[in-house]
Symmetry: C2
Subunit: 214 residues, 2 copies
């Protein structure tokens, strides 16, 4: 693929993500996208057959970014900084792809392939989140009774708050811009899922790192 064509593909994806983040996935079609990008429909269709294909490509990027933010392999030690970074980086991915989580049910109702891919990612994330809680317990940072079942519950609640925090902000702020402080509050809310179980010294150390990004 020539450089110009590669760049057009990248431009289409970036522009579509930005527009959908601003106005919602339902509101954006290929016609509007061509107008904003000042390209012909033929140019767009050279890269993507339809809107569905663009959304799938955006989801593939989201998935890659999320796996990187989670860390390809479990960390050798959950230092407070490693733990805090994990929350900060993953919530950034949710923010950069907020159109996806905000319009999720609508998007996957319209595309079975996307639905299946999304559920695979969700399953993987739930396992990874449970593994992080379990590792934190093994390293003595938290204490959980009836732990096996509870790790799963922690993973689900963490995922629910993580995947809905930015949507909650969009709903609550009625069009006002989302600030860095809003995102830090979200990181703290997600971390609060663990709060009742954490060893106090470790909790304070993680919270210090969470606040550095304000």
């Amino acid at each position: 693929m020539s450089k110009v064509k590669t760049n057009n593909r990248t431009r289409i994806l970036a522009s579509c993500r930005a527009l959908m983040n601003k106005e919602g996935a339902q509101a954006i079609g290929t016609t509007r996208l061509c107008e904003v990008l000042e390209i012909s429909p033929g140019n767009l269709y050279y890269h993507f057959k339809n809107k569905e294909e663009i959304v799938r490509a955006l989801f593939a990027e989201l998935e890659t970014d999320l796996r990187v933010a989670f860390g390809e392999e479990p960390p050798s030690s959950l230092t407070p900084k490693v733990f805090a970074d994990f929350y900060i980086k993953t919530l950034d991915v949710a923010h950069e792809n907020r159109f996806f989580f905000s319009g999720l049910l609508h998007l996957i109702r319209q595309d079975d392939v996307l639905a299946t891919d999304y559920l695979s990612l969700q399953d993987w994330a739930l396992d990874a989140l449970a593994a992080v809680a379990e590792q934190a317990a093994k390293e003595g940072h938290l204490k959980i009774p009836n732990s096996k079942k509870r790790y799963r519950s922690i993973a689900i609640n963490t995922w629910l708050i993580w995947s809905n925090w930015v949507r909650y902000l969009e709903i609550s702020k009625q069009g006002d811009a989302i600030s860095r402080a809003d995102m830090v509050l979200g990181i703290e809310q997600i971390f609060d899922v663990l709060s009742g179980y954490l060893e106090p010294g470790y909790e304070s150390a993680v919270r210090r790192h969470l606040k550095v990004v304000r």
Copy 2:
């Protein structure tokens, strides 16, 4: 208003809620609604000017039901049964109005009046949830450090899981029906927000009541 007309208004609302719960708020318009109800557009427009008005009326019913489920006044004592009933009843309201929470951002982006009304309800619910946690602490059922700020955090996480649980099921079950067991799992997830703080005997007693509905 004559009895027939009152009944038609009720039928329109019930039918619209059921259709939107099944297919999403975006997918249902007044034309479709008239077809399903076998009434003329004129008949529908006698009761509601447009889809927006129907959604506002459905929201008003949701709001009434949620306030009733929360309890008009704080309970004199948070017995395990009172506490469990509070979770069970409120999640039922979310389930019966799942179209609303699933399509929330889309709905309020299209209607500023609805957006304002929704935010008032959300603010009221967050205050009520914080008050319940505070009352539970006063009655000795849970212990929370740095409590003022933490009550607010608990309220937000409870609200996020409550308002997104049914959407999470709809996404995860890919069209399969939501069962009573799915709802009980949701009630337990919401209750788990408090788990790390609860007095163990009280926690077990509430969980026994939560499981009775299975």
